[in-house]
Amino acid sequence: MRQRPWLVLVGGFGGLLLLMAAAETGALLFLNSLRHSGNTLQSHFLARNRTLEQIRSDIYLSGTFARDSLLAPEISGSRAQIAAIEGLRKETETSLEHYAQSLEPEETKPFQALRSEIEAYWKVLDRTFSWTAEERNKQRFAFFYDELIPRRTSMLQIADRIAGLNEESLKRGDEKLGALFGRLQLWLMLMIPVTLLGGAALAGRTIFHILRLEGEIERRLDESVQARTGLQELSAKMLRAQEEERRALSRELHDEVGQSFSAVLMETENLLDLDPSAEARPRLESLRGIAEKGINEIRNMALLLRPSMLDDFGLVPALDWQARETAKRTGMHVQLNSEITDELPEEHKTCIYRIVQEALNNCARHAQANTVQVAVRRETGKILLSVLDDGSGFDPQRVRGLGLLGMEERVRHLGGTFEIDSQPGRGTKLDIVLPLARLNGNHKNGTNPHPSV
């Protein structure tokens, strides 16, 4: 499974954020509607209560006005009270109409009772207005205590009952709201675990993916490090094998092939001693010349492959020879300053010799130098090699020939440092430091494994 890390991250965390936002918005909307319902319930209750209060006070007041009007001796003296009662009656009717609009089902019966009771009350009151002065005087108190007060009390009782029902309705509304709160709670209780679980799942998935990616990266890093180490080991092995082969080939040429040519030479001399015929003598002399030439060529080939001095006497005689050979061949002045007296490990010896050989070749071939200074010296725990020429120089940032790479590779195998300092027209300086710390280890054996001298 190959997923881009950014996709996983955006998907994971984006999904989580969306889930959280959705849960929060839902809860907020719910709360809002709850508050709204609560408000409506409250105001509804208050409005109805107010209407009931109005009705009750109107009835009470009408009773007072009726008493006052009856107390007047003449009907003419109670006009103002009758007008007020008329007004109260209208107001009560309006209030009843108003209340009827929002009637709860269980209120219907008491409300009807209240209504007919009030109707009857007004009718009874109406009757008193047509009484003569005498009738008034006679029936005033009886009417007041037997009709008006009981009717008023009954009406107020019914109104109280309705008010009680109204309160119950409020209570029911509150209970409904409570149930809704319960639902919100449930919703939140559901959403929080869902969000948490989703978040945990997403986080887990993301962490898993990141860990896997990290593992992958580490594995690849390991692989590439291993591959590089493997390559370096291989290249070191190949260098060693190459050197070993050169050494064997050089020695074989020198000691075997060369000696055979020497034997041919010797035998030819023997034949020449035997007074050969005039015809054979020039042939034998030619043979002697060929053998002599062969010996020289083999010797040169052997030296070029690997100078025997390197194995027989050590680094300094080999460098001496290399410096002399280069000077002779190219006309460059080669100055060698070697302060190495004791024997070096085999690999160091070969490394330094090959680097000097390559550097001298470069000086002659590419740099057209007049003078080359080679310096080798030993300090505690390390060997310092420098090659300085006055040739044409180059830009080390841009030019990196196979020769330089080879030198660098050799130095790296021995854990050393390799520096080139060069500029076009300013000559070149190579600075190489080879540590000798490994001397104590398995590289202790610095002597030639196949000594002949």
Binding site: D255, M266, D273
Partner: protein, 216 residues
């Protein structure tokens, strides 16, 4: 006159055979033994007491330079002629320091071999003309490289005379007799020569003389 007794030391049978044939045809030479490595050479030297050992350098068991050192230490009267493929001066100087008196290349002609054997029995040194030439060329080039003055110019005529005799292998006593000088005078000259030329041993003097073309 007694024939010169020669021991051949080389790990190549064919070469030894050829050499033996070549030398035995010469009047006054007798090949008393053949060895194929350094150790065998030491044994045969002990048994046959040769006058001259013709020695290769590259040999198994013990190389020719080491064998030369042991022979000339134990038997100062014997002479060693090195016959080698190597022409680099590092081999020449080490052979001389080990006590060899002559150094021949293996492409040497018969005449060189015979001349070298005669020279060493007479106490002189001998080098293949090719070796002399290479050493001289290198020396001249090295002088040119260093831009140094040739310290040979510092020597007086008498010192140059004595230098040549030392390089030819003469002892102080022989030099004193030849030049009619006292032993003490010869010794003083000798010390001066070594100081002026910055040399430290007879082999170095010989090598110097070869490089300068004073002897060959």
């Amino acid at each position: 006159m007694e024939p010169i007794r020669i021991l051949l030391s080389d790990d190549h049978n064919i070469l030894r055979d050829g050499m033996r044939l070549l030398l035995e045809r010469q009047a006054g030479f007798v090949v008393v033994g053949e060895a194929s490595d350094g150790r065998e050479t030491l044994d045969l030297v002990q048994n046959h007491q040769p006058d001259v050992v013709v020695m290769d350098i590259a040999m198994p068991n013990m190389n020719g330079i080491e064998a030369t050192r042991r022979i000339t230490e134990k038997h100062p009267q014997m002479s060693v002629v090195i016959l080698s493929m190597h022409y680099d001066e590092s081999y020449v100087i080490r052979s001389l320091k080990a006590g060899a008196r002559a150094y021949l290349l293996k492409d040497a002609l018969k005449s060189e071999l015979i001349a070298a054997i005669h020279a060493v029995t007479e106490g002189r040194s001998f080098f293949s003309p090719k070796i002399s030439r290479i050493l001289q060329e290198d020396y001249v080039q090295a002088l040119g490289r260093k831009g140094a003055d040739d310290s040979y110019d510092l020597l007086t005529d008498r010192e140059r005379e004595i230098l040549q005799l030392v390089a030819e292998g003469k002892t102080n006593k022989e030099i004193a007799n030849t030049l009619g000088l006292s032993l003490y005078t010869v010794d003083t000259h000798r010390t001066h020569i070594l100081q002026k030329l910055n040399l430290h041993s007879v082999p170095e003097v010989i090598l110097y003389a070869v490089r300068k073309g004073i002897i060959s």
